[in-house]
């Protein structure tokens, strides 16, 4: 039986591997253009990455368009639903950023799953 998949945009933020649901990503550019923009490392881990973002993913919310600075590789791939796990309750309670919602295993590594709808709402940061 074929497992259903979720189209995801896979990217890196510093040393960490992340994924966003592809339907929330409307574009990608190598230079930032939106007034609202933020680096993924600073947003998610409160730790600005030493290297500047290589790409800027374009997302939108009720306030309009904004951009998320990420590192390569950036790829579009469908991840099997059976391989996506919600974050366990103790970690949900203690996560720094509410967008961190799950994890996928790609042994020997893992990939953090992000809820795109909660990414910007947590930050009060101005333009990067």
């Amino acid at each position: 039986m074929q497992t259903a998949g979720v189209p995801m945009v896979l990217f890196a933020a510093g040393a960490y591997r992340l994924a966003l649901e592809a339907r929330f990503v409307t574009g990608m550019a190598d230079t930032p253009t939106a007034h609202r923009r933020v680096e993924a490392s600073a947003l998610l881990f409160q730790a600005p990455c030493s290297a500047p973002p290589v790409y800027w993913l374009t997302l939108s919310d009720a306030q309009g368009v904004w951009q998320l600075g990420v590192h390569q590789p950036v790829t579009l791939r469908s991840l099997a639903a059976s391989e996506l796990y919600p974050l366990p309750p103790l970690l949900l309670a203690r996560r720094i950023h509410p967008a961190l919602c799950g994890i996928a295993f790609e042994p020997p590594e893992s990939r953090l799953l992000l809820d795109a709808s909660k990414l910007w709402m947590h930050t009060h940061q101005g333009p990067a």
């Binding site: 796990y85 919600p86 366990p88 103790l90 203690r94 994890i103 020997p108 893992s110």
Partner: protein
């Protein structure tokens, strides 16, 4: 009982003298299974009913960024994902100096299941309730909310029996 002139018994007499009840321990005394382990060199215990599994130290734990230092990460166990926490900070103990290398206790309490990294597994044993004593007044402030009883074995230091519900609740509240 008839004793011969030399004070000896016959075999029949000896066998008839056997009292089946002699030396039998009262097995009806209520007891509790404890999983005994060490953290920062101190002895602790968790109720056996709460420890669902003892996981080998070589089970891979995946680091998850964006969480406090008391979170070691997650493990992928037979198609399930479990958090792994380090209880040291919660219990006011010194943080481990070396990378985690002890076993992981998979603990279920208050509707939550999580791995708890320990430094050394000592024993799994049944302890009569009568041997579990109330925590002393001298117990540290940091341990007091989490210790329900103290057990002093015949040998070695006393073990503090932890309440897993209190541990998980405090962790969720942002302590540790």
């Amino acid at each position: 009982m008839t004793v011969s002139d030399h004070g000896a018994l016959t075999l029949d007499q000896a066998l008839n003298e056997y009292d089946a009840a002699t030396g039998v321990v009262d097995v009806e005394e209520p007891s509790q299974q404890l999983v005994l382990f060490r953290l920062a060199g101190q002895r602790f215990a968790l109720p056996g009913s709460a420890v669902k599994e003892i996981i080998s130290h070589d089970q891979p734990v995946y680091f998850v960024p964006g969480l406090p230092a008391s979170t070691e990460g997650v493990l992928h166990l037979r198609g399930h994902i479990e958090s792994v926490i380090l209880p040291h900070a919660l219990l006011g103990l010194a943080p481990p100096t070396a990378p985690a290398s002890g076993m992981i206790l998979l603990v279920a309490a208050a509707g939550i299941r999580s791995g708890v990294r320990i430094e050394q597994l000592d024993d799994v044993c049944d302890v009569p309730h009568s041997l579990l004593k109330a925590p002393p007044e001298t117990l540290s402030e940091s341990l007091r909310p989490f210790v329900s009883a103290l057990w002093q074995p015949e040998e070695g230091a006393a073990a503090a029996l932890l309440e897993p519900e209190a541990l998980f609740d405090a962790y969720q509240q942002g302590l540790g």
